[in-house]
Symmetry: C2
DNA sequence: CTGTTAGCGCTTTCAT
DNA sequence: ATGAAAGCGCTAACAG
């Protein structure tokens, strides 16, 4: 009991099967080049001994890893866990592993994971970036580590990206709200330095202008339920005449917070007093106090596509610099249905 | 542009700094043994050349990896992403990386990740198990790969675990419901083969018996919002007299589904007609149509503790076989407040 | 304090 | 179809 078994190597397997290590390696990697009987014998030895290949050695010799790094800014946002799920599915099909890093929107932590993954010589990096990473990723590319941006594109950087047209998403949200007859709109979200917020706002502005509606910006410190609730409380504190009659939340977490604040004893009726559209269409949007209309991003598909792109580019097989952009779609629910 | 830089090795650094590779290794691993000037020179060379240590080689020679595998059954359940977050935080502090696997409640996929991580020679495995993994993990232990169970304990297996007392959680839920005056209780959850469901039900049964309340089991195929909604619809379809007056949902996702179904046009009032208690206290429980009372598990702390336990046991430093169990706590919200 | 050197376990020519 | 042997890049003795 508990007698620690020293790690079994190809040598042990080879001697047990009465062949050379080269043959064992062939069984592992190119079984078709091995005669049926030998294959059988080696396979049996592997099974009997409980041999498990040491991937570090494989990687050292072969020069390539089977891992890909994925860095997301916020793992507790279901949008990103959906992206991760899609990435993981695609990686599995490829025999790859995903190394996961949560940057928590900190540029430092993001850098930490980038370093770590580089030390692991990952095949590539998937990154939903915080701040400016272009330089860093371009440098990685020069070391044969492919990188794919998720959720943001950096034109002319030579970096590929998989994203959703956030400007269009902003437009769709505002168009929907205006079609409801609302004219005093507000975008709730922030910080305003986030590219997603910038783009969604740009789209919202454009549509508001075009359709003759007003658009105010109510900034939050982050895109969380808590910040959404705080922003909601600020809106509730205004006189009815000063309140917007519709809000576009920069993501569903914020929308969820807004709904909480409007409904919880504040007597504001959604959508009668204020209509709400969120963004991302996370699963929980439909189970809110008032089910929330939302701009859907194909999150799982984004993750999957990013991995596929990475695989295509890893090893220099294909040229990088491809921007894949999905179109968001509007999902209408009770928060905008009278 | 794009001229691929061949990977920089310790040799390159050594020759650029005019020292031997051994010294470079010392700078990397035991800087205190290197003279200040040499340290400075080598550090400069590392910076200038952009050297990044190859971890596969390090690991091959040093024999140990800095990665730990984490296998969870369902990544889109916020409970597990919270556990993962806690694990990741603790791993960071330890200079370790988390390899993440999502088993999707499939024993096959779980085995796939276990194999994969074993090939990576991870320092240890954190696993929120599906089905029977005891054998597998005990075997790993014999190969010096520590394993810590998350969310379930297997007494006498020699495996450490970090879990929450699910039986106590079930008791707390039922006690609360009975204290509200309810007597026709139902537990909604499944499949009944899940250990968490078994334990929570056992606790619920015990409390119901002790307090003289009835407890019916309404089984679901999984612990998801969708399944919760389906179960809710089945309850709504009954005659009022046949309906339970309180339900204990085996987790918050199910509770969320129940709430949706009861509220959506079915005219059932929560908690007047039916009170609801969930389990896990995920963030979204408080933003539901009716904020949901829930049995809270310290998810982030569970993840963190599991990693700490793993680190303590990895390398045989400490004896395994320690069961750490947290007590769940009841969080009361509108779904059980008249 | 620094240099030399022998592998870690595997893959991969190159012979046979 | 199989074997022999040379490393992949690094660390850890051991000398000096």
């Amino acid at each position: 009991m508990g007698a620690t078994v020293a790690s079994i190597s190809v040598h042990d397997v080879a001697s047990r099967a009465g062949v050379s290590v080269g043959t064992v390696s062939n069984v592992l990697n190119r079984p078709e080049r091995v005669s049926p009987e030998t294959l059988e014998r080696v396979t049996a030895a592997i099974r009997d001994l409980g041999f498990v290949r040491n991937d570090a050695a494989r990687q050292l010799r072969a020069g390539s890893s089977r891992a890909m790094g994925l860095v997301v800014p916020d793992f507790s946002n279901p949008f990103f866990s959906d992206v991760a799920r899609g990435a993981q599915d695609a990686a599995d099909e490829n025999g790859s592993v995903i190394l996961l890093g949560n940057s928590d929107r900190s540029v430092a932590r993001q850098g930490f994971y980038l370093d770590l993954f580089e030390e692991q010589r990952v095949r590539g990096m998937l990154i939903a970036p915080v701040g400016d990473v272009e330089q860093r990723l371009v440098r990685l590319r020069q070391r044969d580590i492919a990188a794919v941006l998720v959720g943001r594109s950096v034109p002319n950087s030579g970096l590929s990206s998989v994203s959703v047209d956030d400007v269009a998403g902003g437009e769709r949200a505002v168009e929907h709200l205006v079609a409801l007859g609302r004219r005093r709109l507000a975008l709730v979200g922030g910080p305003s330095s986030m590219q997603a917020v910038i783009d969604r706002l740009a789209g919202a502005r454009r549509a508001a202008q075009r359709l003759g509606a007003g658009l105010e910006v109510i900034e939050t410190g982050a895109l969380t339920i808590l910040e959404g609730r705080a922003a909601g409380n600020r809106i509730v504190a205004r006189t009815p005449a000063e309140r917007p009659d519709a809000v576009f939340a920069a993501n569903d977490l914020v929308a969820l917070g807004l709904v909480q604040s409007f409904v919880m004893g504040n007597g504001l009726s959604i959508p009668r007093d204020i209509a709400i559209v969120g963004y991302d269409d996370i699963d929980f949007a439909s189970s809110a106090v008032v089910p929330i209309s939302s701009i859907r991003q194909p999150s799982v598909i984004i993750g999957r596509t990013a991995v596929e792109r990475l695989v295509a580019e890893a090893g220099g097989a294909e040229q990088p610099g491809v921007d894949i952009q999905f179109q968001p779609t509007l999902v209408v629910r009770a928060s905008t249905t009278l």
